[in-house]
Every structure is written in structure tokens, then in C-alpha cells.
């Protein structure tokens, strides 16, 4: 027992001696960083903050482990993870402000320009090309090769297209005789269309996800209509159909200003909720207000023998936002 004690003591002395040897003996080399006075309270605070941060991280993991999906725990995740990060931030800030030396240094700004080096670099470039007799031709040839390579590398981008075939922009699924159906495919009866509300209709047996498909249906007093003469038959019993896609930027016309609030809204209007382009359904979809540059395309309607609504043709103009030359053609 006493032997063991002796060994232990010897070991301790050895460790202590080794420790001491590594300590600041003799004169200290010149310091590079200012000496800071110890601050036990700040040290304790930093240690405590780091400890709490570790606890918050553990709490996050516990919340995760106990989360059986029965309730949303997002708040707890945010709190625990955020707290962990915040506590580390606090610890680092105390560390930086109270325990690390705060000393300002001076440093020279780098030279903004180096004329000698500029000259040397230029000289290297100049002299490297001194053996070339037809510099301009070489540069042109090299430029042609590089430019052609660049164009060739860009050529596959054409596969993204169609870049040149813009006819599809005029496509709509509407044609004379096509029935109007609701989103579930049920035909729309003229009798079911009431005033002071609007309906969304689609072409029967066609995709509803095409820009030319959806129309908005409203019913006005036939005497209040101010349609151009050639559209006199387009609104049987005062039922009007317009493309539901705004001619400004392509959002769906989802607002109908009716019933009216006379002081600010003297007449029924179709309004796009994106930029508030406002169209007059009584006047062939003309623009009342807002940024749209052309009228809402109108779809001619007729009522068939069974009282169902059918298209009597295609829209009065191209559907959706304008592009170059859009006014030129009727939709197909």
C-alpha cells in the first residue's frame, strides 16, 4: 500500500514538474496581443451560456424524439433551435467584448494602383507577341473561332422553344357549337345564370388548363348593353361570356363588381385581382380602369334548343396578355 502511495506521489511530482517546465519561466517574448485582465464573472457567464446552449440543443433533439406527429411541434423546434443559436451568439459576444483583448490596429491601405507592375505585365504581353507578323488577322481568326464556339454551345438552347412558332399563342379550344360547362363538366343552362354574380365556364371536352379555355359568364339587363353592332347577337338574354384571362398580365379575372356601391362603382365591372385592370362587360369588355391595354376578348354565345349555352364562334380577339403584333389576327 505504501509502495503504491509512493509511486503515486512520484507520478504527481513528475506531472507537476512537467507542468511547471511548460509554464512561463524566464523572460517572456514580446507580446503580439495586448494583455487582458482576467474577468471571472464574464468567464462564468460565457461558460453558463454555452452550457445552456447545449441544453437547448438537447431539448430540440428530445422534442424531435418525442414527436409522434399527433400535433404540430414547429413552435417548439423553432424555440429550442433558435434558443441554442441565440445562446451561442450571446456567449460569443460576451467573449468578444469582455474576455478577448480589444485593441485597435493601424494598417496601411494597399496601393490602389501599381504603375510599375502594370508596365511589366504589359511588356510581357507585348514581347510575347513580338514574333507575330499578322496580329490583327490572328486576333480576328481567334475571335471568330471563339464566337462560333459560343454560338454552337448556345444552339441547343433552341430545343427549349418553340422560339419561332408563335401561332400557338392564338390557339383556343372554342369553336361554334361547343357547349359551355362548369368545372365538373356539367352543361350550363341559360336559366341558371343569374344577375349580380359571375360564373366560370369551360369548353366541353377540352382541357381546362389552357389559357384560352376559361370564360367568365355574367348576366346583365339586355337594355343596358352597349355592344358594337356586329356583336348584337352575341349576348342572348343579356348573358355575356368573356375570356377569364386578363389581357394585361394573364391572371384570372376573379372579381365582379356587382351588386354596386354607387359612389365608387357606378357600373358592373370585371376586375383582375393582380393589377386591378377593370373591364366593362356591358361594352364588349372595354377597359374602364387599370393597366390593361386592350379589351377582354368576348366569346359569342347562343342558347340551344335545350336551353344550354353554346359558343357561337371563337373569341373577338386573342386571349391573354399581349405580345408583339397581337392585334393582327383573330384566335383560331
Amino acid at each position: 500500500m505504501s509502495r503504491l502511495w509512493g509511486w503515486l506521489l512520484a507520478g504527481l511530482v513528475l506531472v507537476f514538474g512537467w507542468w511547471r517546465r511548460r509554464g512561463p519561466e524566464g523572460e517572456e517574448p514580446e507580446r503580439l496581443v495586448a494583455r487582458t485582465s482576467p474577468d471571472r464573472r464574464a468567464e462564468n457567464a460565457v461558460i453558463a451560456l454555452f452550457g445552456l446552449a447545449a441544453l437547448a440543443a438537447v431539448a430540440f433533439m428530445i422534442v424531435y424524439a418525442l414527436d409522434d406527429g399527433s400535433r404540430d411541434r414547429t413552435q417548439l423546434y423553432g424555440l429550442t433551435f433558435g434558443a441554442c443559436l441565440a445562446l451561442i451568439a450571446a456567449a460569443l459576444i460576451v467573449l468578444g467584448r469582455r474576455l478577448m483583448p480589444y485593441e485597435e490596429f493601424e494598417e496601411d491601405y494597399p496601393e490602389p494602383e501599381h504603375p510599375d507592375e502594370q508596365e511589366a505585365v504589359s511588356q510581357i504581353i507585348r514581347e510575347s507577341g513580338s514574333g507575330l507578323t499578322r496580329k490583327r488577322l490572328l486576333l480576328t481568326a481567334g475571335g471568330a473561332a471563339g464566337g462560333a464556339l459560343g454560338l454552337a454551345a448556345l444552339t441547343p438552347v433552341l430545343s427549349l422553344g418553340p422560339w419561332l412558332q408563335t401561332d400557338s399563342l392564338y390557339d383556343t379550344p372554342w369553336q361554334a357549337g361547343r357547349r359551355l360547362v362548369d368545372e365538373h363538366g356539367a352543361p350550363l343552362h341559360a336559366d341558371a345564370i343569374e344577375r349580380e354574380t359571375f360564373y366560370t365556364a369551360f369548353p366541353e371536352d377540352a382541357s381546362q388548363d389552357e389559357i384560352g379555355a376559361p370564360v367568365v359568364l355574367v348576366r346583365l339587363d339586355p337594355r343596358a348593353l352597349r355592344l358594337p353592332p356586329e356583336r348584337a347577337l352575341w349576348a342572348p338574354r343579356g348573358i355575356l361570356a368573356y375570356s377569364k384571362i386578363c389581357t394585361h398580365a394573364g391572371c384570372a379575372i376573379a372579381l365582379y363588381r356587382s351588386p354596386l356601391f354607387e359612389p365608387t362603382a357606378p357600373q358592373p365591372a370585371l376586375v383582375c385581382p393582380c393589377h386591378y385592370s377593370t373591364f366593362d362587360p356591358a361594352d364588349g369588355g372595354s377597359v374602364l380602369f387599370g393597366p390593361a391595354g386592350r379589351a377582354l376578348p368576348q366569346l359569342p354565345l347562343r342558347i340551344d334548343a335545350r336551353g344550354e349555352l353554346r359558343a357561337a364562334g371563337n373569341f373577338s380577339g386573342p386571349v391573354g396578355p399581349s405580345w408583339q403584333g397581337v392585334r393582327g389576327e383573330r384566335p383560331t
Binding site: Y64, I93, M100, E103, E113, G161, I211, A254, T264, V326
Partner: protein, 466 residues
């Protein structure tokens, strides 16, 4: 004393000790406003971390499915796989919603801090030689980030993102001469476009744009390190040739790391506690549907305002549409804003003839012309931004929408001029009061000296030991 083993390990293998020493002694001048750019950097790191996590669960596909998941109100609805995966990761993955909301908040904070940082740099003249390229890269980064944010909320394929894309399509179509081709080329078919458009947006959002922003960021930081920081003249030791500040290590490191963790803490706390973009409430995108009160994320508010403000006309030649309306607000306006900012260093150089190297910062009052222009420009953009909220003002305060729009259409041209004149006047007055203050101090000093000199030569009082 023997070197730290880690330092020796690195230096033995890389020879980087001289570089490490140089980096540790690199000097950061101190000012609170210098931290704005750092906050942007740290928000970017949070964006990358949360974005990688989201990409593990998000399915960028427009394949049609019928929802049958946890969130009852949407059950039975047709939707895209993309939207469904966004709903699923919000409701079924334990930390999915935290990550999604933190990602969204980080994008908003990223752009706020970029804009504030840019304003700090502008109003202090930090963009002048030798830091013009740093400024240029920064402005490019701002616009790349705007596009990146737009792509980010567009890939989700909820109703709001679809409305945003419709507007993007309309704006693309409005480009003179080639708009129709451009829109069809990008979308692959008339709106809502080809199925491949979703994967195109996704790869742009998760690889191309982050890569571009990362490259610009690297260049931005490398140039800052090469040119060193600008500084305010807080002490006479700070000159055009000498900067004074804290070394990277030890002083700046805990401060910067603390800011990194603090930024991340705020973002994750927001992500956990404050709901943002609850996509399950908007529903899946349907071409024929729209929702009232739709607003984009704040950083695109200026564009929606510009689109809404434009009076309704297309430029036509006979039957030919030359310029469709969305071009003005959606393309011309942001292009003017971007190029004004990009070219400002050259504009100012031409206006003032000042081609010198500037390492010392101006206070805003020191350059009344620049400050007045900056304020006027800011007022212009902010008023157009506010015009984008006229629909909300109409709902909450019952002010006529049309009336507000007309008010803004006039105000956006008058207010900047007024702001310019008022700001320039304030700057000049401040300069004058500075001059008066300096003159008074000089006079007082002289008067004191005169008092000391004037009395008859009496034995001067012994200087007090202090």
C-alpha cells in the same frame, strides 16, 4: 515556446502560416452599419442550409395527383406533385415546416439586409474608387437575388405562385419584337406552359442562381479583402492611407461569429414561431382561379406597384402591338432602377469630376448632391412600392382604389423632386452648422489663449499634477 500543434500541422502541409498571420491581423474598422452586409451573408448561409434540406423532400414535378394527406381541407383536390410535396413536408415531416418557414424568412431578411447595406454604401460614398467593381458586383447580386426569390416561391405551384408566374409570363410576352417568342421559349407552350417548365425553374432556383450569387459573392468578398474596408474618420489616425480598426483575430472573430449565430437564431425563431407563406391555405394553382388581396413577397412589391400604376395603353402601330403594357412596369422600370445603380459611380464621377481614391467615408451631409439624389430615388421607388398596396388600403381604410392610383401617378413624379430639394437644403444647412460650430470652437480657443496671454507677467500657476 513551441508552436501550437494545430498551427504546425497546417503550416507543415500548406505553408500557410504567413497567410494565417496576415489574415489574423487584417483590420476591420468599427461601425454598426458595417454589419448589414455580414447579416446578408449569414442569411445566405441559412438559405443554403435550409434549402438543401428542403430539396431532399420537394418534388419538382407537375404530374397530377389527388391529395389524400394529413391536411383535411385539401383532401380530394387535384394538384401537382410539387405542391403536394410542399404540403407533405410541411405537415408530415417533423421539422419540415420549420425549415420551409425559416427558408422563406431568410430570403426576406437576406433581401432587406442587402438593400440596407446598399443604402449604407451609397450614402457614405463607399462605392467610389477603388471599390467601383465591388459595388457593381453587389448590385448584380441584389438583382440576381430578386430573381432567385421569385423562382423560389414560384416552384411551389400553389395558387399565389401560379398567379405570380402568370404575371411573369405576361411580362415576358410584353418585350417588344420578341416577347411572344421569349415567353414560349421559356415556358415551352402557352401559359401555364410545358410540364418541363417546373424542372427548369427548379434547376435555376437550386443550382444556376445560387451558383451565380455565390460567384458574385466570392468576387465581392475577394475585392473587399483586396481593397480593405472603408472607414469613417472618427480619429485623426484614420486617413486615406491608414486604416484603424480591430484585427480579425481575436477581436473581430467572436463578434462576427456572434452575429452569424444571432442572425441564424432570429431566422429559426421566426421560422418556428411566425407563420409565413402558408401554402396550404392558398390551394393548388388553377389557371381559372385568382384570389383577391394577392401580394408578392415584399421585395417584389415595387414591381407590382409599377405594373398597377401604369395607365392602360399598349403602344400600337395600326394593328401591330409594339409595346404591351406590362413592359413599362415589369421590365423598363426595374431596368432603369438597376442601371441607375450600376452606373452611379460613373454618373457621380462625371457630375463632380472627382476621380480620386477614397478610403474615408463621407457623412451623407458631406455630399449634398449625392444624398439628395439618393433620397429622391428612394422616395420614387418606395412610392411605387406603396402604390402596390392601394388595394389593401382600399379594404382597410375605404379609400377609393382609383383615386389612390391617380394620386400616386402624380405623386411619384412630384415627391422625388421635392425630396431632392429638401434633402439638399438639409445637407447644406448641416454643413453650415458644422462650419459655424468649428468657427466657434476656433474663436473660443483663441479667446482662451488671449486671456492667458493678456494678464501682466505674473508667476504662472504651477501646472496641477493630475
Amino acid at each position: 515556446m513551441s508552436p501550437n500543434p494545430a498551427v504546425r500541422f497546417i503550416d507543415e502541409r500548406t505553408g500557410a502560416a504567413p497567410l494565417m498571420r496576415k489574415v489574423m491581423r487584417y483590420v476591420f474598422p468599427e461601425h454598426g452599419s458595417f454589419l448589414l452586409g455580414e447579416i446578408a451573408l449569414y442569411a445566405f448561409l441559412v438559405l443554403i442550409a435550409t434549402g438543401i434540406y428542403l430539396a431532399l423532400f420537394f418534388d419538382p414535378s407537375l404530374a397530377e395527383t389527388t391529395y389524400d394527406g394529413t391536411y383535411a381541407p385539401l383532401r380530394g383536390l387535384r394538384m401537382s406533385a410539387a405542391y403536394q410535396s410542399a404540403i407533405d413536408l410541411s405537415f408530415d415531416d417533423r421539422t419540415g415546416l420549420l425549415m420551409r418557414q425559416t427558408h422563406h424568412w431568410a430570403a426576406d431578411v437576406f433581401l432587406v439586409s442587402i438593400v440596407l447595406h446598399l443604402m449604407r454604401v451609397f450614402f457614405t460614398g463607399a462605392f467610389r474608387r477603388p471599390r467601383v467593381l465591388t459595388w457593381t458586383l453587389g448590385v448584380a447580386m441584389l438583382f440576381a437575388s430578386l430573381l432567385e426569390g421569385y423562382l423560389g416561391y414560384s416552384v411551389v405551384d400553389d395558387l399565389l405562385s401560379g398567379m405570380g408566374l402568370a404575371i411573369g409570363y405576361g411580362v415576358a410576352e410584353s418585350v417588344p419584337l420578341v416577347g411572344g417568342n421569349l415567353a414560349l421559349g421559356l415556358w415551352g407552350a402557352p401559359f401555364p406552359g410545358d410540364q418541363a417548365f417546373e424542372s427548369r425553374m427548379f434547376i435555376a432556383h437550386v443550382l444556376v442562381m445560387p451558383g451565380l450569387i455565390g460567384a458574385l459573392l466570392t468576387g465581392h468578398l475577394a475585392l473587399i479583402a483586396a481593397r480593405h474596408h472603408t472607414q469613417f474618420r472618427r480619429s485623426p489616425r484614420q486617413t486615406e492611407r491608414k486604416l484603424l480598426g480591430l484585427p480579425t483575430f481575436p477581436a473581430q472573430t467572436p463578434r462576427s461569429l456572434g452575429l452569424l449565430f444571432a442572425t441564424a437564431a432570429v431566422l429559426f425563431a421566426l421560422g418556428g414561431l411566425v407563420q409565413v407563406n402558408p401554402v396550404w391555405l392558398w390551394g393548388p394553382f388553377e389557371l381559372a382561379q385568382g384570389t383577391n388581396g394577392a401580394q408578392p413577397d415584399w421585395y417584389l412589391g415595387w414591381l407590382i406597384g409599377a405594373l398597377r400604376l401604369m395607365p392602360g395603353f399598349d403602344v400600337t402601330i395600326g394593328d401591330y402591338t409594339l409595346v404591351a403594357n406590362p413592359f413599362w412596369g415589369g421590365i423598363l422600370f426595374p431596368t432603369i432602377v438597376m442601371f441607375t445603380m450600376l452606373l452611379w459611380p460613373w454618373i457621380e464621377r462625371r457630375a463632380t469630376g472627382d476621380r480620386a481614391v477614397h478610403n474615408l467615408l463621407d457623412r451623407p451631409r458631406d455630399a449634398p448632391g449625392r444624398t439628395a439624389f439618393g433620397v429622391a430615388f428612394f422616395v420614387w421607388v418606395v412610392l411605387i412600392f406603396l402604390a402596390g398596396s392601394a388595394d389593401r388600403v382600399y379594404v382597410f381604410f375605404d379609400l377609393s382604389y382609383d383615386g389612390q392610383i391617380w394620386f400616386y401617378r402624380v405623386l411619384v413624379w412630384i415627391a422625388p423632386v421635392a425630396a431632392f430639394l429638401v434633402t439638399r437644403r438639409i445637407c447644406r444647412e448641416l454643413q453650415r452648422s458644422d462650419a459655424i460650430q468649428a468657427e466657434r470652437e476656433r474663436a473660443e480657443r483663441e479667446a482662451e489663449q488671449a486671456l492667458v496671454v493678456k494678464p501682466p507677467p505674473a508667476p504662472a500657476p504651477a501646472p496641477k499634477a493630475s
